[in-house]
Protein backbone atom coordinates (compact mmCIF):
# COMPACT_ATOMS: atom_id res chain seq x y z
CA UNK A 1 0.00 0.00 0.00
CA UNK A 2 1.55 3.35 -1.06
CA UNK A 3 1.88 6.36 1.25
CA UNK A 4 -1.06 8.48 -0.04
CA UNK A 5 -3.44 5.51 0.28
CA UNK A 6 -2.20 4.82 3.81
CA UNK A 7 -2.65 8.46 4.74
CA UNK A 8 -6.18 8.45 3.31
CA UNK A 9 -7.08 5.38 5.35
CA UNK A 10 -5.67 6.86 8.53
CA UNK A 11 -7.35 10.26 8.19
CA UNK A 12 -10.71 10.91 9.85
CA UNK A 13 -13.85 11.66 7.76
CA UNK A 14 -14.16 15.02 6.00
CA UNK A 15 -16.08 17.69 7.88
CA UNK A 16 -16.73 21.43 7.58
CA UNK A 17 -14.63 23.11 4.89
CA UNK A 18 -12.88 19.79 4.23
CA UNK A 19 -16.09 18.38 2.69
CA UNK A 20 -15.91 17.71 -1.01
CA UNK A 21 -18.84 19.99 -1.79
CA UNK A 22 -17.90 22.77 0.65
CA UNK A 23 -16.86 25.14 -2.14
CA UNK A 24 -19.11 25.05 -5.18
CA UNK A 25 -18.45 28.32 -7.00
CA UNK A 26 -17.19 27.89 -10.58
CA UNK A 27 -14.69 30.61 -9.78
CA UNK A 28 -12.64 28.05 -7.86
CA UNK A 29 -11.00 26.95 -11.05
CA UNK A 30 -7.46 25.88 -11.97
CA UNK A 31 -7.69 27.96 -15.14
CA UNK A 32 -8.64 31.18 -13.32
CA UNK A 33 -5.97 30.47 -10.71
CA UNK A 34 -3.38 29.90 -13.43
CA UNK A 35 -4.20 33.15 -15.25
CA UNK A 36 -4.01 35.14 -12.03
CA UNK A 37 -0.90 33.22 -10.97
CA UNK A 38 0.78 34.05 -14.25
CA UNK A 39 -0.07 37.74 -13.84
CA UNK A 40 1.18 37.77 -10.25
CA UNK A 41 4.33 35.92 -11.31
CA UNK A 42 5.03 38.79 -13.72
CA UNK A 43 4.16 41.61 -11.28
CA UNK A 44 6.10 40.10 -8.37
CA UNK A 45 9.13 39.47 -10.59
CA UNK A 46 9.00 43.08 -11.81
CA UNK A 47 8.73 44.32 -8.22
CA UNK A 48 11.57 42.05 -7.09
CA UNK A 49 13.95 43.09 -9.88
CA UNK A 50 13.24 46.82 -9.53
CA UNK A 51 13.36 46.58 -5.72
CA UNK A 52 16.66 44.69 -5.83
CA UNK A 53 18.05 47.32 -8.19
CA UNK A 54 17.05 50.09 -5.79
CA UNK A 55 18.71 48.17 -2.95
CA UNK A 56 21.93 47.77 -4.96
CA UNK A 57 22.00 51.48 -5.78
CA UNK A 58 21.60 52.44 -2.13
CA UNK A 59 23.90 49.74 -0.75
CA UNK A 60 26.33 49.12 -3.62
CA UNK A 61 28.64 46.11 -3.29
CA UNK A 62 32.21 46.57 -4.53
CA UNK A 63 31.42 45.12 -7.97
CA UNK A 64 28.38 47.35 -8.62
CA UNK A 65 28.48 50.82 -10.12
CA UNK A 66 25.40 52.90 -10.91
CA UNK A 67 25.91 55.28 -13.84
CA UNK A 68 24.44 58.79 -13.91
CA UNK A 69 23.01 58.15 -17.39
CA UNK A 70 20.36 57.64 -18.64
CA UNK A 71 19.03 60.19 -16.20
CA UNK A 72 15.47 58.80 -16.29
CA UNK A 73 16.28 55.20 -15.44
CA UNK A 74 15.84 55.24 -11.65
CA UNK A 75 12.64 57.27 -11.73
CA UNK A 76 11.11 54.82 -14.20
CA UNK A 77 12.39 51.78 -12.33
CA UNK A 78 11.10 52.93 -8.93
CA UNK A 79 7.84 54.26 -10.38
CA UNK A 80 7.27 50.86 -11.97
CA UNK A 81 8.13 49.15 -8.66
CA UNK A 82 5.54 51.04 -6.62
CA UNK A 83 2.80 51.15 -9.27
CA UNK A 84 3.17 47.45 -10.07
CA UNK A 85 3.04 46.61 -6.37
CA UNK A 86 -0.18 48.61 -5.98
CA UNK A 87 -1.70 46.96 -9.07
CA UNK A 88 -0.86 43.56 -7.57
CA UNK A 89 -3.27 44.07 -4.66
CA UNK A 90 -6.54 43.10 -6.43
CA UNK A 91 -4.73 40.38 -8.36
CA UNK A 92 -3.44 38.83 -5.13
CA UNK A 93 -6.82 38.87 -3.38
CA UNK A 94 -8.50 37.42 -6.46
CA UNK A 95 -5.88 34.68 -6.66
CA UNK A 96 -6.21 33.85 -2.95
CA UNK A 97 -9.98 33.70 -3.39
CA UNK A 98 -9.87 31.30 -6.30
CA UNK A 99 -7.43 28.89 -4.61
CA UNK A 100 -9.00 29.15 -1.15
CA UNK A 101 -10.63 25.67 -1.33
CA UNK A 102 -7.13 24.21 -1.82
CA UNK A 103 -6.36 25.29 1.74
CA UNK A 104 -8.82 22.64 2.90
CA UNK A 105 -7.72 19.88 0.55
CA UNK A 106 -8.19 16.34 1.88
CA UNK A 107 -6.03 14.61 2.90
CA UNK A 108 -4.03 17.66 4.01
CA UNK A 109 -0.73 15.98 3.16
CA UNK A 110 -0.42 13.18 0.64
CA UNK A 111 3.35 12.89 0.15
CA UNK A 112 6.60 14.50 1.23
CA UNK A 113 6.78 16.73 -1.90
CA UNK A 114 3.14 17.71 -1.30
CA UNK A 115 4.03 18.60 2.31
CA UNK A 116 6.97 20.72 1.10
CA UNK A 117 4.76 22.39 -1.48
CA UNK A 118 2.15 23.25 1.16
CA UNK A 119 4.77 24.42 3.67
CA UNK A 120 6.13 26.86 1.07
CA UNK A 121 2.68 28.44 0.88
CA UNK A 122 3.17 29.97 4.34
CA UNK A 123 6.04 32.27 3.27
CA UNK A 124 4.40 32.74 -0.13
CA UNK A 125 0.98 33.89 1.08
CA UNK A 126 2.23 35.58 4.27
CA UNK A 127 5.18 37.16 2.46
CA UNK A 128 3.03 38.46 -0.41
CA UNK A 129 0.54 40.05 1.99
CA UNK A 130 3.43 41.42 4.07
CA UNK A 131 5.12 43.04 1.07
CA UNK A 132 1.94 44.70 -0.21
CA UNK A 133 0.73 45.76 3.25
CA UNK A 134 4.07 47.25 4.33
CA UNK A 135 4.59 48.78 0.88
CA UNK A 136 1.26 50.61 0.97
CA UNK A 137 1.84 51.55 4.63
CA UNK A 138 5.27 52.93 3.81
CA UNK A 139 4.20 55.16 0.91
CA UNK A 140 1.37 56.51 3.06
CA UNK A 141 3.75 56.85 6.06
CA UNK A 142 1.40 54.70 8.14
CA UNK A 143 3.72 52.24 9.82
CA UNK A 144 1.98 50.23 12.55
CA UNK A 145 5.03 48.03 13.12
CA UNK A 146 8.27 48.17 15.10
CA UNK A 147 10.76 47.02 12.44
CA UNK A 148 12.64 49.21 10.00
CA UNK A 149 10.80 49.09 6.69
CA UNK A 150 13.66 48.97 4.12
CA UNK A 151 15.63 45.96 5.47
CA UNK A 152 12.48 44.07 6.54
CA UNK A 153 10.79 44.62 3.16
CA UNK A 154 14.01 43.60 1.39
CA UNK A 155 14.51 40.41 3.45
CA UNK A 156 10.89 39.31 3.09
CA UNK A 157 11.08 40.01 -0.66
CA UNK A 158 13.84 37.38 -0.95
CA UNK A 159 11.84 34.93 1.18
CA UNK A 160 8.69 35.51 -0.89
CA UNK A 161 10.39 35.25 -4.26
CA UNK A 162 12.05 32.02 -3.08
CA UNK A 163 8.67 30.61 -2.03
CA UNK A 164 7.24 31.77 -5.39
CA UNK A 165 9.94 29.84 -7.25
CA UNK A 166 9.09 26.70 -5.23
CA UNK A 167 5.40 27.26 -6.00
CA UNK A 168 6.05 27.73 -9.71
CA UNK A 169 8.07 24.52 -9.75
CA UNK A 170 5.20 22.68 -8.09
CA UNK A 171 2.42 24.16 -10.21
CA UNK A 172 4.05 24.64 -13.63
CA UNK A 173 2.53 21.43 -15.01
CA UNK A 174 -0.91 22.14 -13.58
CA UNK A 175 -0.88 25.67 -14.93
CA UNK A 176 0.29 24.57 -18.39
CA UNK A 177 -2.56 22.09 -18.52
CA UNK A 178 -5.13 24.53 -17.17
CA UNK A 179 -4.15 27.13 -19.76
CA UNK A 180 -4.28 24.69 -22.67
CA UNK A 181 -7.05 24.79 -25.30
CA UNK A 182 -8.55 21.53 -24.05
CA UNK A 183 -8.92 23.11 -20.65
CA UNK A 184 -10.87 26.03 -22.12
CA UNK A 185 -13.42 23.62 -23.57
CA UNK A 186 -13.77 21.78 -20.24
CA UNK A 187 -13.94 25.00 -18.27
CA UNK A 188 -16.82 26.31 -20.36
CA UNK A 189 -18.83 23.19 -19.54
CA UNK A 190 -18.90 24.18 -15.88
CA UNK A 191 -19.81 27.77 -16.53
CA UNK A 192 -21.93 29.67 -14.01
CA UNK A 193 -25.51 30.19 -15.19
CA UNK A 194 -25.90 33.25 -12.96
CA UNK A 195 -23.58 35.25 -10.75
CA UNK A 196 -20.01 36.25 -11.49
CA UNK A 197 -18.60 34.36 -14.47
CA UNK A 198 -14.94 33.45 -14.68
CA UNK A 199 -14.42 36.08 -17.34
CA UNK A 200 -16.24 38.62 -15.18
CA UNK A 201 -14.15 37.67 -12.15
CA UNK A 202 -10.92 38.11 -14.09
CA UNK A 203 -12.29 41.36 -15.51
CA UNK A 204 -12.92 42.66 -11.99
CA UNK A 205 -9.43 41.61 -10.83
CA UNK A 206 -7.59 43.15 -13.77
CA UNK A 207 -9.97 46.12 -13.89
CA UNK A 208 -9.28 46.77 -10.20
CA UNK A 209 -5.54 46.56 -10.88
CA UNK A 210 -5.86 49.05 -13.73
CA UNK A 211 -8.04 51.39 -11.64
CA UNK A 212 -5.53 51.49 -8.77
CA UNK A 213 -2.62 51.92 -11.17
CA UNK A 214 -4.24 54.88 -12.95
CA UNK A 215 -5.35 56.35 -9.62
CA UNK A 216 -1.75 56.47 -8.35
CA UNK A 217 0.74 56.47 -11.24
CA UNK A 218 0.37 60.24 -11.74
CA UNK A 219 2.69 60.78 -8.79
CA UNK A 220 5.52 59.89 -11.15
CA UNK A 221 3.87 60.23 -14.58
CA UNK A 222 3.13 63.94 -14.58
CA UNK A 223 0.57 64.00 -17.44
CA UNK A 224 -1.66 61.76 -15.29
CA UNK A 225 -1.20 63.81 -12.11
CA UNK A 226 -4.68 65.31 -12.40
CA UNK A 227 -6.42 61.93 -12.68
CA UNK A 228 -4.32 60.12 -10.07
CA UNK A 229 -6.63 61.10 -7.25
CA UNK A 230 -5.30 58.48 -4.83
CA UNK A 231 -1.59 59.23 -5.25
CA UNK A 232 0.12 60.09 -1.94
CA UNK A 233 2.05 62.80 -3.83
CA UNK A 234 1.36 65.26 -6.58
CA UNK A 235 4.52 66.16 -8.56
CA UNK A 236 3.13 69.70 -8.99
CA UNK A 237 2.56 70.42 -5.30
CA UNK A 238 5.17 71.54 -2.78
CA UNK A 239 7.39 74.52 -2.01
CA UNK A 240 8.65 75.96 -5.32
CA UNK A 241 6.38 73.51 -7.16
CA UNK A 242 8.19 70.38 -5.96
CA UNK A 243 7.18 67.85 -3.26
CA UNK A 244 9.26 67.51 -0.11
CA UNK A 245 10.14 64.21 1.51
CA UNK A 246 11.71 65.45 4.75
CA UNK A 247 11.33 68.97 6.08
CA UNK A 248 14.12 70.99 7.68
CA UNK A 249 12.19 71.08 10.93
CA UNK A 250 11.77 67.29 11.09
CA UNK A 251 15.47 66.87 10.21
CA UNK A 252 16.40 69.25 13.04
CA UNK A 253 18.54 71.55 10.86
CA UNK A 254 16.56 74.82 10.82
CA UNK A 255 19.02 76.79 12.95
CA UNK A 256 22.21 75.32 11.47
CA UNK A 257 21.05 75.82 7.87
CA UNK A 258 20.17 79.49 8.38
CA UNK A 259 23.16 80.38 10.57
CA UNK A 260 25.82 82.88 9.43
CA UNK A 261 28.37 80.36 10.63
CA UNK A 262 27.42 77.93 7.84
CA UNK A 263 30.32 76.95 5.56
CA UNK A 264 30.67 74.52 2.69
CA UNK A 265 33.71 72.46 3.66
CA UNK A 266 35.63 70.36 1.12
CA UNK A 267 38.15 68.10 2.82
CA UNK A 268 39.71 64.66 2.83
CA UNK A 269 42.00 63.63 -0.02
CA UNK A 270 42.45 67.16 -1.45
CA UNK A 271 45.43 69.42 -2.03
CA UNK A 272 43.50 72.62 -1.26
CA UNK A 273 40.89 72.17 1.49
CA UNK A 274 38.02 74.65 1.16
CA UNK A 275 35.72 76.37 3.61
CA UNK A 276 33.37 78.58 1.61
CA UNK A 277 30.73 81.04 2.80
CA UNK A 278 27.46 81.07 0.88
CA UNK A 279 28.45 84.24 -0.99
CA UNK A 280 31.63 82.51 -2.12
CA UNK A 281 29.67 79.50 -3.36
CA UNK A 282 27.31 81.82 -5.26
CA UNK A 283 30.29 83.58 -6.84
CA UNK A 284 31.57 80.34 -8.42
CA UNK A 285 30.64 79.60 -12.06
CA UNK A 286 27.13 78.14 -12.09
CA UNK A 287 25.21 75.99 -14.53
CA UNK A 288 21.58 75.00 -14.95
CA UNK A 289 20.25 71.45 -15.18
CA UNK A 290 16.83 69.82 -15.48
CA UNK A 291 17.10 66.88 -13.12
CA UNK A 292 14.39 64.70 -11.55
CA UNK A 293 13.96 63.98 -7.89
CA UNK A 294 12.95 60.31 -7.84
CA UNK A 295 11.84 59.12 -4.42
CA UNK A 296 12.00 55.51 -3.25
CA UNK A 297 8.29 55.99 -2.42
CA UNK A 298 7.59 55.98 -6.16
CA UNK A 299 6.94 59.65 -6.86
CA UNK A 300 9.18 61.75 -9.05
CA UNK A 301 9.29 65.25 -10.47
CA UNK A 302 11.66 67.10 -12.76
CA UNK A 303 12.82 70.55 -11.74
CA UNK A 304 15.18 73.26 -12.94
CA UNK A 305 18.22 73.49 -10.71
CA UNK A 306 21.13 75.93 -10.68
CA UNK A 307 24.41 75.43 -8.91
CA UNK A 308 28.10 74.65 -9.11
CA UNK A 309 29.07 71.35 -10.80
CA UNK A 310 30.51 69.15 -8.09
CA UNK A 311 33.46 68.25 -10.30
CA UNK A 312 34.40 71.97 -10.53
CA UNK A 313 34.34 72.29 -6.74
CA UNK A 314 36.57 69.23 -6.42
CA UNK A 315 38.92 70.62 -9.07
CA UNK A 316 39.14 73.85 -7.07
CA UNK A 317 40.02 71.77 -4.02
CA UNK A 318 42.67 69.97 -6.08
CA UNK A 319 41.14 66.56 -5.58
CA UNK A 320 42.82 63.81 -7.64
CA UNK A 321 41.01 62.99 -10.88
CA UNK A 322 38.89 59.85 -10.43
CA UNK A 323 38.18 60.48 -6.76
CA UNK A 324 35.01 59.36 -5.02
CA UNK A 325 33.31 61.53 -2.41
CA UNK A 326 30.87 61.54 0.48
CA UNK A 327 28.43 64.44 0.71
CA UNK A 328 27.50 65.09 4.34
CA UNK A 329 24.40 66.89 5.57
CA UNK A 330 23.91 69.16 8.57
CA UNK A 331 21.73 66.42 10.07
CA UNK A 332 23.12 64.75 13.17
CA UNK A 333 25.63 62.02 12.32
CA UNK A 334 23.95 58.62 12.13
CA UNK A 335 20.57 60.01 11.14
CA UNK A 336 18.93 58.18 8.24
CA UNK A 337 20.26 59.41 4.90
CA UNK A 338 22.45 62.10 6.52
CA UNK A 339 25.11 61.51 3.85
CA UNK A 340 25.49 59.96 0.42
CA UNK A 341 28.27 58.50 -1.66
CA UNK A 342 29.28 59.41 -5.20
CA UNK A 343 31.60 57.43 -7.43
CA UNK A 344 33.86 59.05 -10.07
CA UNK A 345 31.31 58.62 -12.89
CA UNK A 346 28.62 60.39 -10.87
CA UNK A 347 31.00 63.19 -9.83
CA UNK A 348 32.16 63.57 -13.43
CA UNK A 349 28.65 64.17 -14.77
CA UNK A 350 28.29 67.90 -15.59
CA UNK A 351 24.73 67.91 -14.18
CA UNK A 352 25.75 66.65 -10.75
CA UNK A 353 25.48 69.95 -8.91
CA UNK A 354 25.85 71.53 -5.53
CA UNK A 355 22.59 73.36 -6.16
CA UNK A 356 21.68 76.75 -4.73
CA UNK A 357 18.55 77.54 -6.80
CA UNK A 358 15.35 75.69 -7.68
CA UNK A 359 13.05 76.84 -10.47
CA UNK A 360 14.70 80.26 -10.56
CA UNK A 361 14.61 80.98 -6.83
CA UNK A 362 17.03 80.39 -3.93
CA UNK A 363 16.43 76.94 -2.47
CA UNK A 364 13.53 76.71 -0.05
CA UNK A 365 14.72 75.55 3.37
CA UNK A 366 12.76 72.28 2.94
CA UNK A 367 14.53 71.69 -0.37
CA UNK A 368 17.96 71.93 1.24
CA UNK A 369 18.94 75.61 1.67
CA UNK A 370 21.68 76.79 1.53
CA UNK A 371 23.20 74.07 -0.67
CA UNK A 372 22.03 70.62 -1.72
CA UNK A 373 23.31 67.84 -3.89
CA UNK A 374 21.38 67.06 -7.05
CA UNK A 375 22.48 64.57 -9.67
CA UNK A 376 20.86 62.57 -12.46
CA UNK A 377 19.64 58.99 -11.97
CA UNK A 378 19.94 58.94 -8.17
CA UNK A 379 17.34 57.90 -5.57
CA UNK A 380 15.91 60.93 -3.77
CA UNK A 381 17.40 59.79 -0.45
CA UNK A 382 20.84 60.20 -2.03
CA UNK A 383 20.19 63.79 -3.12
CA UNK A 384 21.60 65.07 0.16
CA UNK A 385 20.05 68.30 1.45
CA UNK A 386 21.54 70.99 3.76
CA UNK A 387 25.07 70.09 2.68
CA UNK A 388 27.77 70.77 5.29
CA UNK A 389 30.79 69.11 3.75
CA UNK A 390 32.17 67.07 0.89
CA UNK A 391 34.73 64.48 1.96
CA UNK A 392 36.94 63.34 -0.92
CA UNK A 393 38.30 59.77 -0.96
Amino acid sequence: MNLPTRIRRLTPPRVGPFREEAFRSPLYSARVASILGLALGVTFTVCFVTGFLSHLIQHPPSFFGWPPRPGWLYRVSQGVHVTTGIASIPLLFAKLWTVYPRLWVWPPLSSIPHAIERLALVPLVGGSLFLLFTGVGSISRWTPWSFSFPPAHYSVAWITIGALIVHVGAKAGTARLALSRRSIARTNEGRARDGLSRRGFLGAAFGGAAALAVATVGQTLRPLAAVSVLAPRDPRIGPQGLPVNKTAASAGVLDLATSDAWRLVVEGNVGNPLSLRLEEVLALPQREAHVAIACVDGWSATARWRGVPLRDVLALAEAPIGSGATVVSLQRPGAAYASSELDPSQIGDPETLLAVELNGEPLHIDHGFPVRLIGPNRPGVQQTKWVASVVVR
Binding site: S140, I161, G169, G208, L212, A249
Partner: protein, 150 residues
Amino acid sequence: MTSPPSAPEREATGHGPVFWWGLAIGSGAMAFGLITLFSRAAATQPLDVGTFLIALALGHDLLLAPATIGIAAGLRRAFPHGVRGILSGALFVTAVVVAFSLPLVTGWGAQPDNPSFLPRDYASGVAIVLAAVWGVAAALMIHRVRRRAA
Protein backbone atom coordinates in the same frame (compact mmCIF):
# COMPACT_ATOMS: atom_id res chain seq x y z
CA MET B 1 -18.23 19.65 -11.85
CA THR B 2 -14.70 18.29 -12.17
CA SER B 3 -13.89 15.04 -13.91
CA PRO B 4 -11.10 12.69 -12.73
CA PRO B 5 -7.68 13.74 -13.99
CA SER B 6 -6.38 12.10 -17.13
CA ALA B 7 -2.95 10.43 -17.30
CA PRO B 8 -1.22 13.54 -18.67
CA GLU B 9 -2.96 15.60 -15.98
CA ARG B 10 -1.65 13.30 -13.25
CA GLU B 11 1.78 13.61 -14.74
CA ALA B 12 1.48 17.40 -14.92
CA THR B 13 0.40 17.72 -11.29
CA GLY B 14 3.13 15.39 -10.02
CA HIS B 15 6.41 16.39 -8.49
CA GLY B 16 8.93 15.90 -11.28
CA PRO B 17 12.33 17.45 -11.93
CA VAL B 18 10.86 20.95 -12.32
CA PHE B 19 9.55 20.77 -8.75
CA TRP B 20 12.91 19.70 -7.33
CA TRP B 21 14.77 22.37 -9.33
CA GLY B 22 12.30 24.97 -8.11
CA LEU B 23 12.75 23.75 -4.55
CA ALA B 24 16.55 23.95 -4.79
CA ILE B 25 16.60 27.46 -6.27
CA GLY B 26 13.70 28.76 -4.17
CA SER B 27 15.19 27.41 -0.94
CA GLY B 28 18.42 29.25 -1.73
CA ALA B 29 16.55 32.53 -2.16
CA MET B 30 14.54 31.95 1.03
CA ALA B 31 17.71 31.10 2.96
CA PHE B 32 19.34 34.32 1.72
CA GLY B 33 16.27 36.26 2.85
CA LEU B 34 16.36 34.67 6.30
CA ILE B 35 20.11 35.31 6.67
CA THR B 36 19.58 38.95 5.67
CA LEU B 37 16.67 39.22 8.10
CA PHE B 38 18.62 37.83 11.06
CA SER B 39 21.95 39.49 10.22
CA ARG B 40 20.29 42.90 10.71
CA ALA B 41 18.12 41.81 13.61
CA ALA B 42 18.35 45.15 15.45
CA ALA B 43 16.66 46.88 12.52
CA THR B 44 14.49 44.09 11.13
CA GLN B 45 13.14 42.67 14.44
CA PRO B 46 12.76 39.14 13.01
CA LEU B 47 10.24 38.07 15.65
CA ASP B 48 7.99 41.02 14.84
CA VAL B 49 8.38 40.45 11.10
CA GLY B 50 7.51 36.76 11.53
CA THR B 51 4.53 37.56 13.74
CA PHE B 52 3.29 40.17 11.28
CA LEU B 53 3.68 37.82 8.33
CA ILE B 54 1.89 34.90 10.01
CA ALA B 55 -0.84 37.19 11.36
CA LEU B 56 -1.54 38.52 7.86
CA ALA B 57 -1.71 34.99 6.42
CA LEU B 58 -3.98 33.71 9.21
CA GLY B 59 -6.04 36.89 9.13
CA HIS B 60 -6.72 36.30 5.46
CA ASP B 61 -7.33 32.55 5.65
CA LEU B 62 -9.37 32.40 8.84
CA LEU B 63 -11.14 35.76 8.92
CA LEU B 64 -11.17 37.69 5.65
CA ALA B 65 -11.77 34.80 3.23
CA PRO B 66 -14.60 33.12 5.23
CA ALA B 67 -16.21 36.52 5.85
CA THR B 68 -16.01 37.33 2.13
CA ILE B 69 -17.51 33.97 1.20
CA GLY B 70 -20.36 34.55 3.67
CA ILE B 71 -21.00 38.08 2.48
CA ALA B 72 -20.84 37.00 -1.17
CA ALA B 73 -23.37 34.21 -0.53
CA GLY B 74 -25.72 36.63 1.24
CA LEU B 75 -25.45 39.30 -1.44
CA ARG B 76 -25.92 36.75 -4.19
CA ARG B 77 -29.39 36.05 -2.87
CA ALA B 78 -30.11 39.76 -2.40
CA PHE B 79 -28.98 40.87 -5.86
CA PRO B 80 -31.43 40.83 -8.76
CA HIS B 81 -31.18 37.89 -11.11
CA GLY B 82 -29.21 38.60 -14.27
CA VAL B 83 -26.91 41.34 -12.93
CA ARG B 84 -25.54 39.52 -9.88
CA GLY B 85 -22.18 38.95 -11.49
CA ILE B 86 -21.64 42.58 -12.43
CA LEU B 87 -22.68 43.77 -8.97
CA SER B 88 -20.35 41.24 -7.32
CA GLY B 89 -17.42 42.33 -9.49
CA ALA B 90 -18.05 46.02 -8.78
CA LEU B 91 -18.24 45.27 -5.05
CA PHE B 92 -14.91 43.44 -5.17
CA VAL B 93 -13.20 46.44 -6.81
CA THR B 94 -14.93 48.78 -4.34
CA ALA B 95 -13.60 46.78 -1.38
CA VAL B 96 -10.05 46.80 -2.73
CA VAL B 97 -10.10 50.54 -3.53
CA VAL B 98 -11.48 51.39 -0.06
CA ALA B 99 -8.92 49.15 1.69
CA PHE B 100 -6.05 50.71 -0.27
CA SER B 101 -7.28 54.25 0.39
CA LEU B 102 -7.89 53.85 4.11
CA PRO B 103 -4.53 55.28 5.30
CA LEU B 104 -4.85 58.11 2.77
CA VAL B 105 -8.40 59.09 3.71
CA THR B 106 -7.75 58.86 7.45
CA GLY B 107 -4.37 60.58 7.14
CA TRP B 108 -2.89 58.21 9.72
CA GLY B 109 0.61 58.97 8.46
CA ALA B 110 0.12 62.69 7.78
CA GLN B 111 3.06 65.03 8.45
CA PRO B 112 1.67 68.32 9.77
CA ASP B 113 4.83 70.26 8.82
CA ASN B 114 4.86 68.85 5.28
CA PRO B 115 1.77 69.86 3.28
CA SER B 116 3.24 68.33 0.09
CA PHE B 117 2.64 64.88 1.59
CA LEU B 118 -0.98 63.65 1.18
CA PRO B 119 -1.86 66.95 -0.54
CA ARG B 120 -5.23 65.85 -1.92
CA ASP B 121 -8.76 65.43 -0.67
CA TYR B 122 -8.68 61.64 -0.63
CA ALA B 123 -12.31 61.16 0.39
CA SER B 124 -13.28 62.91 -2.84
CA GLY B 125 -10.66 60.84 -4.65
CA VAL B 126 -12.23 57.61 -3.46
CA ALA B 127 -15.66 58.91 -4.47
CA ILE B 128 -14.37 59.72 -7.98
CA VAL B 129 -12.76 56.30 -8.45
CA LEU B 130 -15.85 54.51 -7.15
CA ALA B 131 -18.10 56.65 -9.37
CA ALA B 132 -16.03 55.48 -12.34
CA VAL B 133 -16.20 51.83 -11.20
CA TRP B 134 -19.96 51.92 -10.65
CA GLY B 135 -20.44 53.90 -13.87
CA VAL B 136 -18.81 51.05 -15.78
CA ALA B 137 -20.89 48.54 -13.79
CA ALA B 138 -24.10 50.46 -14.59
CA ALA B 139 -23.23 50.56 -18.29
CA LEU B 140 -22.58 46.82 -18.28
CA MET B 141 -25.88 46.15 -16.48
CA ILE B 142 -27.85 48.27 -18.96
CA HIS B 143 -26.15 46.46 -21.82
CA ARG B 144 -26.94 43.07 -20.22
CA VAL B 145 -30.60 43.92 -19.61
CA ARG B 146 -31.07 45.28 -23.14
CA ARG B 147 -29.42 42.25 -24.70
CA ARG B 148 -31.72 39.94 -22.76
CA ALA B 149 -34.76 41.99 -23.68
CA ALA B 150 -33.85 41.90 -27.38
